[in-house]
Every structure is written in C-alpha cells, then in structure tokens.
Symmetry: C2
Amino acid sequence: MKIYDRPGFPNPARIRIVLAEKGLDKLVEFISVDLIAAEHKQQAFLAKNPAGVVPALELDDGTVITECAAITEYLDNLDGHPVLTGSTAREKGVIHMMQRRAEAFVLDPVGLYFHHATPGLGPALQAYKRPEWEGRKAMGLHEGDKVLEGYRYFDGLLARQNFLAGDRFSMADITLFAGLMFADAAGLPVPEHLGALRAWRQRVEALPCVRQRSGQQFGQDDLTRMGF
Amino acid sequence: MKIYDRPGFPNPARIRIVLAEKGLDKLVEFISVDLIAAEHKQQAFLAKNPAGVVPALELDDGTVITECAAITEYLDNLDGHPVLTGSTAREKGVIHMMQRRAEAFVLDPVGLYFHHATPGLGPALQAYKRPEWEGRKAMGLHEGDKVLEGYRYFDGLLARQNFLAGDRFSMADITLFAGLMFADAAGLPVPEHLGALRAWRQRVEALPCVRQRSGQQFGQDDLTRMGF
C-alpha cells in the first residue's frame, strides 16, 4: 500500500503513529506531496482525494481511502485485533466521539486559524484558502478563540482520566496530539495553567508509537521554504 | 437508553434511521430538545454535549455518546452484527471515508449556509451563530456553492455504484440523505440534471428503515414557529 503525505505535518503524523502502533511501517511506500506548492490542490491529487488534503492511503488494487479516522479504522482492523478504535460497541462509540471532538474543538479550528489569520504555508496554498472572502481573517481569529475553549474542555476531561476515551490510548488521543503539534506551529500554545492537558501530552509523547514513528522531521527544503 | 433530539430535524433523522434498521426504536426514550428556542445551547444541555448539538445518546449508566458517526458505531455494534458501519477493515475504511465526505461536502456546508446566509431557525438560535463576524453572510453563501460542488461529486460517484460505499446501504448513505433533507429546508435543492443523485435518493427513500423511522414529522408547534 501507498501513503500520500509529507513528513513533519500534523495530519500525516496521525497515520504515521497508527502505522507505528500496528507495526505496519515497513509495508508502506510513502509518496511525498508538496503541500507548500499546493500539489494537493492540483488535478492529479484531487483525482485521488477530492477533498484535497493529505494523507491518502492507496491499496494495491487502486482503492483510495482518505480521512484520518477512516484510514485508522482500516489499518487498525487489518489484523482483526483493533487496539486504537475499540472492540466493544461502547468503546467504539466513545472513541469515535472523542476523536471527532478532538477534530472539531482543536485540530480543525487550528487549521482555519493558521490558513486564514496567518500567512499559513505561503502564497501558493493561500490561493486555495478563499481569498475572495472579506472577513476571513476575523473568521480565522474567531477559530483561534475556539481552540482555547477546546483546550479548557480537554484539560477538564483529562483531570479525571488518563486518555480521551478513558484508561487507554486510542485514535482520539492521536487526533488531539496532532492538533497540539499544529497549534504550536500556528502560534496557539497550550497555556501553562492547563496542567492536566500538558501532563497528558507528555504521557502521549513518551509512548513508543509516538516516539518511534517515521517522518517526524520536516524536510530541510520545506524548513527553508517555510522560513526557518 | 435515552436520545435527546427533535422530530423532523436532519441530524436526529440520522439516528432514527439507524434505530429503525437495528430494530431498537422500542428500547429508546426520546427526550425532546427545543432547538428553535436554542435549548441545546444552554448549560443543562451543554453539560451532556459541550458541542451543543443534537442528537445525544445517554446510556443507562449516565454515559453520554454524541456525534452521529459515534452513536451509529455504538448502536450498530450492540448486537455484534454491524450492518451499517462495515465488518471488514476495508468496509469500515470506505464507509467512514464516505460518511465523512457526506458531512464535509454536503451536510456541514448546508448547515453553515442555513444558519449564516438565511434567517435559520430564528432569533434565539441566531444569537449563537457568530453575530459578531462581519462577512458571515458571504461565508454562508460560499458554503452554499460548496454544497453544489458536493452534489456533483456524489452524482458522479452514484453513476457508477448504487450506494456511497459500494453495493450496500450504509451509515454514509444515511448522512447524505439527512444532508439532502436539510438542503431542501435551506433552499438548496438537488438540480434536475443530477440524475444519478436523484435516483439514489429515491432508492434510499424506499428502504424500510427510512420509510418506517420514528419522528419524521415536525411538531405542529415547531411548524408554526418556523412560519409554516
């Protein structure tokens, strides 16, 4: 199977963590997509994913699966022993709920903040970020406020339990972890006083699948183009 | 178990269809939430679902599961024989991908169009729809254009297969069906020339779980308050 993504970026990290947890890294060919040049908004990639986002998983028969929760369901269930998406009805329900909350409360609004209220990844990609809207910067800033609300929600939750869906690390934690990676890059760090959220992040960072995942570093060329 | 929702509305319809397909209607107590009065944005409901949307499922032990895909995972897997969310890794992946596309390409932008570019459900709810943003109507109209793009995407897909995830009706079809219900109410009907999408809708409307689901009609009081 092939994964279309880019090292260093947050949504690709979600699936790289899943691959590490499931021991599947070696079975995957990674195809690099030039996000800074907006390659994922061009026709060749849109034919694989009409949503125009990475990562995308292509199976050997040509079937493409996109959307991180969907790719995770596929990879986690391949061996018949899901460890990230739940085994019982209740686990599946709670994990999918928390996964979606991590997207809706943190990861998605961070992305809107980054692409609309900051220069984002630069001019090639900005052309696809609704330049025709007046008020899009105000919208981006509003989304930044939503992220802070999201942090407070998850801090409260994590003061009562170790992981988003309860005692066990799951797909939901991976989503929030990627959200915080993206938030760092966007300039929306977790405030010091949200101790439970910060302690959770350290627990997740210490997990083997997170520490040992492939593709953690941005390419040197990408760093230069992003101004580092 | 209890479901917090409101008859006639699109997201509640998603779970009512799941309940009908799984034969679970009789096991559920429905609690009506006054969406037109913005009851779902008040503290009592936000304590159940911080996202402030219906439906929410409350289990007998007090656990609340929200987000339609998550509630569907729970209900579909309760008896150990999932029919809407897939059995194999591949089915699960494709169904979750298409479910999310139905949300992202149709249902979500219809909601943004309805609440931002039209009077929506009236003044009580509008107060929670970012009145502070300039340009929010332009954003809503932009989302309406996205819906039409979404229709074209699904029309192309359904010219090649009977249902969103292949040969079998699934959670993904339920999401798109609810999206089209909402779109009718918002004034974004499916264009006549998208024949494959329209034919799919007729196939879905004919299914027993869709025809026989509970809560299809708006309450008379709600109809009056919405100006019918």
